[in-house]
Amino acid sequence: MLTATLALGILSALFGLLLGYSAIRFKVEGDPIVEQIDALLPQTQCGQCGFPGCRPYAEAIAAGEADINQCPPGGDSGIQALAELLGVDPKPLNAEHGVPQEKRVAVIDEQTCIGCTLCIQACPVDAIVGAAKQMHTVVAEECTGCDLCVPPCPVDCITMVPVKQDIVTWKWPYPESDTRPIVIARQA
């Protein structure tokens, strides 16, 4: 019994030394995964995920504090990309955080706008231009359609309109004559 405890004890003490030493010797910092997650998020910066912007959400996912199904603008394809990156199962979007909507942009009714600058402060990507007390407009190419400018407006002059589809942005539809249901990749 003594030999047993001693033999194993010494063996593991040696191992302990080895591991303890290597823990210090081979310490690594930094976490590139955040960047990779962030790159997959749609950057709408709408905060629907419950975090102030996409990057904080990315950090939360990396830290294991947030689930991957909280970003409505990213939709199912976004969740799938995340699932693939992180090697977990995709799951349906958490409806608590909203539902995916078609792409929209903000339009300011130029007649009603009083130039209060509140919307400018709300816009996460500085897509609204205009000085104080002047009429404001939205730079449509830069607007991410995040809705954040709508509530602050005191005169309700901002409306979100769907992005119009034209010949350039038109996409061929998924063939429907195929009788089988559409399989979203890799749910199995």
Partner: protein, 212 residues
């Protein structure tokens, strides 16, 4: 760089190893005998099926001898021979030969031979024959293997130690001739071995050529 954590981890692992192995060692010490006893009893149970308990009075498990004969016993390894005696007189030997040409490889047997060269019984210890075809050699599945009891090299005649399909005296199974053929051949070989070496088997004392 401080090495305190290194030492702490080492100590930690050490402690757990000591406690763990201590407990295990303690259990081991308390169960070792029981385990050895179990092993003994397990073998004895098989042996007793072949040689009834009342026919011998020695400690068969300990009265053991190891022999070699790759030709007749089917394996290069040492084959254990258990010896049953009554009042010091030899009664029977139990060998554990191998039938090497089963359908799926080795079939390990236990062959009990009385002093006069008749079979006290044959059992299969381990085999990998096809379930449903070849496994009828198991005593649990069919009586075929019990058919050896009482047979000897004279009964049937030595050249009838074959399956019926090959012109012998032993049944084969439907669709499976190889397995019974292999077993019959191995049993016959064991008997041949006994005929050649039977007298020697009781001579040596167990301690003399114990082998592991």
């Amino acid at each position: 760089m401080t090495y305190r954590p290194v030492v702490i981890s080492a100590v930690f692992l050490f402690l757990f190893a000591v406690i763990g192995s201590g407990l295990v060692a303690f259990t081991h010490d308390n169960t070792a005998e029981q385990i050895a006893e179990n092993q003994r009893r397990a073998l004895l149970r098989s042996l007793n099926e072949l040689i009834p308990k009342d026919q011998y009075d020695n400690d068969v498990y300990a009265d053991i001898l190891y022999v070699h004969d790759s030709e007749l016993l089917g394996t290069d390894d040492a084959v254990p021979v258990y010896r049953a005696r009554k009042g010091g007189w030899p009664v029977a030997v139990v060998l554990a030969p191998v039938a090497p040409d089963g359908y799926n490889g080795n079939i390990r047997l236990l062959v009990a031979i009385r002093l006069d060269g008749t079979l006290a019984g044959v059992r299969v210890l381990a085999h990998r024959e096809t379930p449903g075809l070849g496994d009828n050699i198991e005593a649990d599945r069919s009586d075929w293997i019990r058919g050896f009891t009482g047979k000897s090299l004279n009964n049937p005649k030595q050249d009838h130690w074959k399956v019926k399909r090959d012109g012998g005296a032993f049944d084969q199974f439907t669709g499976a001739t190889i397995t019974p053929r292999a077993v019959v051949k191995a049993v016959k070989n064991t008997l041949l071995y006994y005929r050649a070496n039977g007298d020697k088997l009781f001579e040596q004392h167990p301690q003399e050529n114990k082998q592991s």
